[in-house]
Symmetry: C2
Subunit: 218 residues, 2 copies
DNA sequence: AGTAACATACTACTCGGAATGTTGGACCGT
DNA sequence: ACGGTCCAACATTCCGAGTAGTATGTTACT
C-alpha cells in the first residue's frame, strides 16, 4: 500500500520543456521494434538494450519495469493515431468523405508507425488479467479509455452521417467495430518493403479506406 | 539433423477411426482456454494440466512440446472455419448473398469457438521468427498455407462476383484483407455473456456480415 | 507381463529486477 | 583557473523465482 502510484515511469506526467536527451524516446522506439519482432514476452530487456547498443542499466534507469515500457509504447501508438485523425474531424466536408479521409489517415499511421501499432495489438486485455498491482491495472484502464476515445471519433462521424442521410448504417456499434478491425488488421499483413515508394503506400491506404467505407457491393 | 520430422505430435498424421480416448482433444481444448486467458507465453504447461485436473505428465504424454499444442490448436481453429464455410461455396445463390452467408458463418465460428480463434490471433508470424528447429518452421509454413487457402475461398467469391457484375471491388486483395480483418477482429471485442441467447448471437453475426459486405454507404 | 496413460520428482536455464560500481559533466567556492 | 563534489546516466554483477522439458515411478487394463 505504500507504493506511490503516480510514478513518472508509469504515468509519464512530467513533460519537460527541454528535449532533454531523448534517451527515453529511443528506448521506447527500440522496445517497439523488439515487441514487434519477438512478441511482448519473448522480447527481453537485454534485447531492447542490445538494439540501443547499451545494457539493461540504461533501460531500468528510465523505466521501472518492462510493463512500464509497454505502457509507454501503447501511449505513443495511440498518440500517433490521434495526431493524424483529430485534425480531420473539424473538416467541413461530407460525412462520407470525412470518414474515408479518417480511414485513410489511420491506414497511413498503421504503416508509418508499424512497430508501435503491431506491439500493442492484442495485448491489453490479456495484460489486464495478468497484472498484479493495482497501479498497473489503473494505467491499463486508462489506456483502454484512450482507445475507446479514439474509436468514438469514428462513431461520431458515423452518427452524423446517418443523421444527414449520407450513410446507411443499421448498427453503429457493429459498423465501427468492423471499420476498426479492417483498418487495424493492416498491421497483420502489411510488410515494409524498402523499395516501395511513398505513392505506393498512399495508394494502398487509399484502397483500404475505400474498401472499408464502401464495402464490396456496387 | 537426426530428429525425425514426421512426428505425430507435430504433424498429427494419424487420425484413428476410433474415438480413442479423446484425452488429446481435451488437452487441446484446455490449452485453447489457457492461451485465450493468459496468452501463449504466460500460459504454462501446469496451467493447462490444472484445467484438466491433471499434471504435466499427461500433457507431455500426448504432446512433445508446448509449441506442438499451439500447432494443434491452430489446426483445430482453422478446421472449424473450413467446416463452417466450405459447404457454402457450392451454393447456387448470387455472389453477394453467398459472400454474406460466408461472412455470417465465419462470424458464428469466431463466437462459437472463441478460445481457439483468440489463441491463434497474431501468433504465427511472431512464432516463425522465434522457432528454432526446421521441423517447427515447416509446420508453421503449413499452417500459414492453411490460412491462405481459407482466405482464398473469399477471394474466389469476390472474383466471381466482380465477373458477374454483382460486386464492385477495385482491388480484390485489399478487399479480402479488409473483410477478414473486420471479421477476425470480432474475437478482440466479443465477450461471451451467458445470458445472451442463440438468437442474439446470430443477430450479431448477421449484422457484422452485413457491415463488412455492404460497408457504410447508402 | 507388457504397455498405455498417466503422476511425481527433478533439473537446467532463462530472464526480470535489484544492488552496486563507474564516469563524465555541471556547478560550486576560493 | 582549479580542485572538489554531487548527481544523472549509464554499465556490471548478481540472484532468485518461475518454467519447459526430462527421468522415473505407478497403475490399470489387456
Amino acid at each position: 500500500m505504500d507504493e506511490h502510484i503516480d510514478d513518472d515511469t508509469l504515468t509519464d506526467a512530467t513533460e519537460g520543456a527541454a528535449p532533454k536527451h531523448d534517451s527515453r524516446r529511443e528506448i521506447i522506439e527500440a522496445a517497439a521494434q523488439c515487441f514487434m519482432l519477438k512478441g511482448l514476452d519473448k522480447a527481453t530487456m537485454d534485447d531492447i538494450a542490445d538494439v540501443l547498443g547499451a545494457t539493461k542499466g540504461r533501460v531500468y534507469h528510465h523505466f521501472r519495469s518492462k510493463n512500464a515500457i509497454y505502457f509507454a509504447v501503447y501511449r505513443q501508438a495511440m498518440q500517433y493515431c490521434f495526431d493524424a485523425v483529430t485534425p480531420l474531424i473539424s473538416l467541413n466536408t461530407s460525412s462520407i468523405s470525412k470518414l474515408e479521409l479518417m480511414a485513410h489517415a489511420h491506414a497511413r499511421v498503421m504503416m508509418d508507425t508499424l512497430p508501435y501499432q503491431r506491439s500493442i495489438r492484442l495485448g491489453v486485455e490479456v495484460y489486464l488479467r495478468g497484472s498484479t498491482t493495482e497501479a498497473e491495472r489503473a494505467v491499463l484502464r486508462e489506456l483502454i479509455t484512450l482507445r475507446n476515445d479514439y474509436e468514438n471519433l469514428y462513431r461520431e462521424v458515423l452518427r452524423a452521417g446517418v443523421a444527414q442521410g449520407e450513410l446507411d448504417v443499421p448498427n453503429i456499434e457493429i459498423a465501427s467495430r468492423a471499420l476498426m478491425g479492417a483498418l487495424n488488421g493492416l498491421v497483420d499483413w502489411y510488410r515494409i518493403r524498402p523499395d516501395q515508394s511513398e505513392g505506393e503506400r498512399d495508394a494502398l491506404a487509399r484502397a483500404l479506406a475505400h474498401a472499408v467505407v464502401h464495402g464490396t457491393t456496387a
